[in-house]
């Protein structure tokens, strides 16, 4: 393997890794705030990407605004999901299975809606800096990808600060750990839950707009992203924001380097196999402390 | 009297937290042995280790001379070691009768293939189990609710179902985890009568409880405090022991 090929792999792995990490981050946010694994996270991303695409190409909105539309669309979907899917399930005694099936249904719904509207074609969302790329040791990384990494890192740090130092962040955490206690001290628990999903939705939407220019938007991308994001989240310990990014980057790098030795068609097989192995061998992740056996 | 169960130097820690340190005691055959202690003393952990839900970090559990520390829950069950749970674990979507039939699981031999192909042995096993279940229902006073879903019963009756299910599986050593919590005083009296019957049938009982009235039926009681056995004896002996009084009495 030449140096160029190696560096190319590492760059690709890093970029993908941050995407998986962002999805994993969204999953971690929802899990931390509501104790629910959100099988729709990748589809929040899909919607974010689609919304940004439509804003940019059909409404002619400038790029930054289109991106914001994507993020907001994600947040809005998060709100809808909480009200239409999660809240009714809560009321009817939600078991882990019900939440899983309901969010899976939501994932399929978004995917089906995109299929209906766009068909099976993929669409290209314009990236930051267009198609320009930077050369590193003869390998190229798109400017957009660099921005992706920068923005993701900023978001992770921001999230950590939010949960650790703001009252709202701490209230959201408290509401999920101890419902009665939180109610007693005046935390609006239902509102915290809504905010959790909105925040998770926005994370998803952000991931969507960041990844769309690199892989193109197509109706089936949701579930695969969710699974990879889930792998990232577990690797990182399921509740830690830094952990999800760390897990994502690890996954992205392994995936990337593995493709070099095996054909690229097996990329997803490798990622899925890694997910299964992680769940079996180290469900508490590499960084997390307390294990949770997923149900 | 020989020891049905021997707990030898059992220690356990979770991470840095030592929950049990060098616990030693034995349960004599045919006796009712009690285990009491304040909350956090390590009773649940000890119980889980004895019943196979947890592997101790150190020490051994001996059952009638055989070391069973590495045996699975199922293996212990087949050896006659049956436990109940602090929150009664009934099969909620099965009827009471079906719960008891389930208790007879170990007495059957048919597997998946024979079941699929409807071998006669399958039906015979079920019929025999049903007969036993009906009998046990009567013994435990559950005939009135025998066709009701176990999950819909009030807590007291669910406890009874769990106990009946434990009894039907022909245990040698019955480990009861807080069997009286949530029961009315009539129900506790009924419980004591049932336990008495079980002892008469030769079943050894290990009892964990906060209920001092219930503990009266024990011939010997061990007191667990901060992971160690600090005293043992009959109820009256313990009540006179200043160390026990200081560490824990009453609740």
């Amino acid at each position: 393997m030449t140096l160029t090929l190696f560096v190319q792999s590492v760059l690709a792995g890093l970029t993908n890794g941050f995407v998986y990490g962002l999805i994993g981050l969204g999953i971690a946010v929802v899990y931390r705030g509501a104790r629910i694994i959100n099988a729709m996270q990748g589809d929040f991303a899909l919607l974010g990407g689609v919304a940004a695409y439509l804003a940019l190409t059909r409404l002619g909105v400038p790029m930054l605004l289109a991106y914001c539309t994507g993020v907001i669309a994600g947040g809005a979907l998060g709100f809808i999901v909480e009200r239409l899917l999660i809240r009714p399930t809560d009321r009817r005694g939600g078991t882990d299975d019900s939440y899983l099936l309901v969010t899976l249904g939501g994932a399929f719904a978004v995917s089906a809606a995109v299929l209906l509207y766009f068909g099976r074609d993929s669409h290209v969302l314009e990236g930051i800096g267009g198609n320009a790329s930077i050369d590193v040791f003869d390998a190229a990384i798109r400017v957009h990808a660099v921005w992706l990494i920068v923005i993701s890192s900023a978001v992770v740090i921001g999230l950590k600060l939010f949960y650790s130092y703001t009252r709202l962040g701490q209230a959201m955490l408290a509401a999920s750990i101890d419902i009665e206690g939180s109610l007693t001290i005046g935390i609006n628990v239902p509102l915290m839950r809504i905010l959790t999903f909105v925040l998770g939705g926005m994370m998803g939407g952000l991931a969507g707009i960041l990844v769309a220019p690199l892989i193109n938007i197509y109706y089936e991308m949701g579930l695969l992203l969710t699974l990879k994001g889930f792998a990232a989240a577990i690797l990182g310990g399921l509740t830690s924001p830094f952990g999800a990014i760390f897990g994502g980057v690890t996954l992205g790098l392994i995936e990337s380097l593995a493709i070099v030795s095996v054909s690229s068609g097996y990329k997803d097989v490798i990622a899925m196999a890694i997910l299964i192995l992680i769940m079996i061998l180290m469900p508490q992740g590499l960084l997390g402390r307390r294990g949770r056996q997923g149900g | 009297m020989s020891a049905v169960l021997e707990v030898r130097q059992i220690s356990h820690h979770f991470g840095g937290l030592h929950v049990l340190r060098g616990v030693n005691f034995s349960v004599a055959e045919g006796s009712v042995t009690g285990l009491i202690g304040p909350n956090g003393a390590g009773k649940s952990t000890l119980f889980n280790i004895i019943s196979g839900f947890l592997r101790p970090t150190e020490g051994e559990i001996i059952d009638s001379g055989e070391t069973i520390t590495r045996l699975t829950i199922q293996q212990r069950s087949y050896a006659g070691l049956i436990r109940t749970f602090q929150t009664p674990q009934v099969f909620g979507q099965l009827t009471v009768r079906e719960n008891l039939i389930a208790g007879c699981y170990k007495q059957g031999r048919t597997g998946v293939i024979k079941s699929l192909l409807k071998f006669p042995a399958v039906r015979l096993e079920l019929a025999e189990a049903a007969r036993l279940a009906d009998q046990t229902c009567i013994e435990f006073g559950l005939e009135a609710v025998s066709d009701q879903l176990a999950g819909r019963l009030p807590a007291g009756q669910r406890r009874l179902v769990e106990l009946a299910r434990a009894a039907i599986s022909k245990p040698r050593l019955l480990c009861l985890d807080e069997p009286s919590s949530g029961l009315s005083s009539e129900e506790v009296a009924q419980l004591m009568r049932i336990l008495h019957q079980l002892t008469k049938a030769g079943i050894t009982i290990l009892l964990v409880s906060h209920d001092m009235d219930l503990m009266e039926i024990s011939s010997v009681i061990y007191v667990l405090c901060f992971g160690e056995i600090i005293a043992s004896g009959s109820m009256s002996e313990l009540q006179a022991d200043p160390q026990v009084r200081e560490a824990y009495l009453g609740v």
């Binding site: 099936l101 249904g105 579930l223 699974l227 068609g265 | 079906e98 599986s169």
Partner: protein, 333 residues
């Protein structure tokens, strides 16, 4: 209780069954080819769907991996018959055996997981299967698929039309249903339900939970594979599109919509999932959205699915006081 009211319950039940059988037998004679075609697919998906429903309803396991075994069955038949020249039965048995082994090999580590982890692991398996079916084109023909699969031949009579296949496949469905009932009404059936309701207590009554889960998973895979083989013989051409995550979702949908405890419900669920795309085809791919919406509605509002509703009606009709799960008979006062 008068003689009539004591008789009327079971009598109505038998009359109902007789009517259903007659109706079933008549349909291909009076209905068009596409209707019969839909009913054949309903039968095939019922078989595969029953595997998923059983796993979910009796053991509480959400499996999205059924598409993989469906594909293994289909490709084993396709490859065996067209490339290796094996007879249909041999190819089918190979497929079933292969699926069984893979289910066991994968199941032993994976089924130790619980809840979300397990369900998502099965989804991951579905994706792995989908990709491998595509990549291993030396075996599966990739996107080009395998064609020219000869129809099943029974005593020289070739089942090469929907009409003929209909009368072949539905008795098979009945046999599969019979097997299911047998399993439900057995010591193993009780053990499964015990495992579903209270795993700790199930362990204490002596159930080897890990082993039982694997056995049922293998059983489910065998059903999926068998259905896949029959499918291949029916459609005579198979390609990767039929064995992906979409298919896995459909099987799960059949189970959930139909009501996981109800066999009649599973049949209805299979019928719905098969016919809806047809009926809605003029609107494009809208059935996917409909299915997703129905899955959500069923999970939230209809925990018993269609089947739950039917079970209640059936009960009222025949005067029983308990649902089918009751083993050892209901004790009459």
């Amino acid at each position: 209780m008068s003689a009539w009211s004591r008789l009327s319950g079971p009598l109505l039940k038998y009359a109902g069954v007789a009517f259903l059988v007659a109706a079933w037998a008549i349909v291909p004679v009076v209905a068009g080819r596409s209707t019969v075609d839909i009913l054949v697919f309903t039968a095939l998906y019922t078989i595969a769907g029953l595997g998923v429903a059983f796993l979910l309803g009796q053991c509480g396991i959400v499996s999205l991996a059924q598409s993989v075994f469906f594909g293994i069955g289909a490709y084993s038949t396709a490859y065996g018959v067209t490339v290796l020249g094996w007879p249909a039965t041999v190819s089918m048995v190979t497929g079933v055996t292969l699926s069984g082994f893979i289910a066991a090999a994968v199941g032993i580590p994976v089924l130790r997981l619980s809840g979300y982890f397990l369900a998502l692991a099965t989804l991951a398996l579905a994706i792995i299967g989908q990709v491998l079916f595509l990549e291993w084109d030396w075996l599966t023909g990739g996107t080009l698929g395998i064609g020219g699969i000869t129809p099943i031949s029974l005593f020289g009579y070739s089942l090469n039309t929907p009409f003929r296949f209909y009368y072949f496949v539905w008795p098979i469905v009945i046999v599969v249903i019979w097997l299911h009932y047998n399993l439900l009404q057995s010591r193993t059936g009780i053990a499964m339900r015990a495992m579903r309701d209270a795993p700790s207590a199930a362990a204490v009554i002596g159930v080897n939970i890990a082993r039982l889960k694997v056995k049922i998973f293998v059983l489910s895979a065998v059903l999926g594979s068998f259905a896949g083989s029959l499918f291949a013989h029916y459609v005579s051409f198979v390609s990767v599109d039929s064995f992906g995550v979409d298919r896995a979702i459909n099987f799960l949908l059949i189970a959930v919509l139909g009501g996981v405890r109800s066999i009649a419900g599973t049949v209805l669920g299979a019928f719905f999932v098969t016919s809806a795309p047809h009926l809605l085809s003029q609107f494009g791919d809208v059935h996917a959205l409909l299915f997703a919406a129905l899955l959500i509605v069923a999970v939230i509002y209809l925990p018993g699915g269609f089947g739950g509703a039917i079970a209640q009606a059936w009960r009222k009709l025949s005067g029983e006081s308990r649902v089918a799960e009751n083993v050892g008979g209901v004790r009459r006062p």
